[in-house]
């Protein structure tokens, strides 16, 4: 699984970082980014949780 954060949609709620800090980081200005190339299988559920908690619908699962 790969994921992407749309920088235009992200508003820095940091919900993804809160739920899956192994996959996402948020910079000092509230911009989230993905810090892994491929999501490890054991973290896929956490990553899906982050997607389902983003208030801005800014996280996209690219391939699964």
């Amino acid at each position: 699984m790969r994921v992407r954060v749309d920088p235009e949609k992200c508003q820095g709620h940091a919900r993804c970082y809160g739920l899956a800090p192994e996959i996402f980081d948020v910079d000092d200005y509230g911009q989230a980014s993905v810090i892994v190339d491929v999501v490890p299988v054991e973290l896929e559920a956490k990553t899906r949780l982050a997607v389902a908690n983003c208030p801005e619908y800014a996280i996209e699962i690219l391939d699964d």
Partner: protein, 405 residues
């Protein structure tokens, strides 16, 4: 229409300060969502009240038609043609970035955000934890406490004082001024006096830091240059006042409402004690179910939204708390499900005005609940004692008597 007149028809004459709305807005929102999802009132000033998630988030994102220049839910004096300045310091730029549109919003927000990044907020955890422990030391063995006044109310204001670099001993004054501004908005004189006291205090603190800067937010703003120019004093004063006003009542209300929920829902309380790993999801669920904050927008020009003929100068009350109870967006929205997996709540807003302090608020709520549950894992409401709620701009318990073994 008198300000305190009872409401007969919530669809066309709502009043967010009506005692029944303050106590239980949830059933009113449910009725409105199915009958008239964007309610209207002419009380105070023509205002609209969306109750559906889809509408609230759409309006929050439409910054062209909906400006943030007037974010007070209850109009401030000059909006009604009155004169409310009372001769105190003025805020010619409002409270940027919350009461600003781009471009002012954009660059003032960038100055504030690093102070509330998740990394910076982690550095405030030890202070917050010590503060909570000290408060608990004061009443944990006494069998009873006012969870709002003795605990929730005492926490965020002290963390904010630390960030601003002002004396923690001033906390009771800060709390009083902020409550005057936000909770007694229908009493213009009280609101004006609160605002004047707060601004006069910050004018003095800024003068001190101009000559002897520290490593606090106020000092940094005084030393900041944008495009080679120092910040206007009015901008700095507005930003300082914002951090205090937005950082106190809001989080305190979230902590208080969460403790009210745990005092009245023994199963959830036991589960949080038994399964501390639930905390990250449980926090968000409590924020969803008891979102404290409603902000306003100003309609910039006559505009029809979803069949509503909005006029230039109307207010739209960004009902984030109602959006978070919308059954179209959340399964069983009126149930607190501590491990709710799908939870795109907008307790901190939506779009470019997402609460700049959300990381701080979340940390304070988490630490406050963790420390409370560690010391007082069993507690319930005290029989026969009244609970008092504040509402309007910020909803939360102000008197919350609880008992424990």
């Amino acid at each position: 229409m008198a300000r305190t007149a009872p409401v007969d028809d919530w669809a066309i004459d709502f009043d967010v300060l009506d005692p029944s709305y303050v106590r239980d807005p949830f059933t009113i929102w449910d009725d409105l969502r199915s009958s008239c999802p964007i309610a209207h009132t002419n009380r105070r000033v023509s205002s609209w009240l969306p109750t559906r998630y889809e509408d609230v988030t759409a309006i929050a994102h439409d910054i062209e038609h909906f400006s943030s220049l007037r974010v007070a839910v209850i109009p401030v004096g000059d909006e009604e043609g009155g004169d409310e300045d009372g001769g105190g310091p003025q805020l010619e730029y409002g409270l940027p970035p919350i009461s600003a549109d781009p471009p002012l919003h954009t660059w003032t927000r960038r100055l504030l955000l690093p102070w509330f990044s998740h990394r910076r907020v982690e550095s405030y955890i030890p202070l917050t934890r010590q503060l909570c422990q000290k408060l608990l030391d004061g009443f944990a063995t006494s069998g009873q406490a006012d969870a709002a006044a003795d605990y929730a109310q005492q926490i965020p204001v002290r963390v904010i004082a630390h960030i601003l670099g002002v004396p923690i001993e001033m906390s009771d004054d800060f709390t009083g001024w902020v409550r005057d501004i936000l909770e007694f908005a229908d009493d213009p004189e009280r609101r004006m006096n609160g605002a004047n006291a707060l601004l006069t205090y910050f004018v003095g603190e800024l003068e001190v830091r101009r000559h002897s800067p520290g490593d606090d937010l106020l000092s940094e703003l005084l030393q900041t240059e944008v495009e080679g120019q120092p910040l206007d004093d009015g901008i700095i004063l507005g930003m300082a006042a914002l951090v205090l006003i937005a950082g106190v009542d809001t989080t305190w209300s979230a902590i208080g409402s969460s403790l009210w929920h745990l005092a009245t829902h023994a199963e959830d309380r036991k589960r949080m004690v038994a399964e501390p790993e639930l905390m990250p999801l449980a926090l968000e669920e409590l924020l969803r179910a008891y979102s404290p904050v409603t902000m306003a927008r100003l309609v910039t020009a006559d505009y029809e939204y979803a069949g509503c003929p909005m006029k230039e100068g109307d207010k739209v009350l960004m009902n984030f708390p109602a959006a978070n109870r919308d059954p179209e967006a959340f399964d069983h929205p009126d149930e607190v499900v501590l491990d709710r997996a799908h939870n795109r709540h907008v307790a901190f807003g939506s779009g470019i005005h997402r609460c700049a302090g959300s990381n701080l608020a979340r940390m304070e709520l988490q630490v406050a609940l963790e420390e409370w549950l560690l010391r007082i894992p069993e507690f319930s409401l005290e029989d026969g004692k009244e609970i008092a709620w504040a509402g309007g701009q910020v909803r939360g318990p102000r008197v919350l008597p609880v008992v424990f073994p």
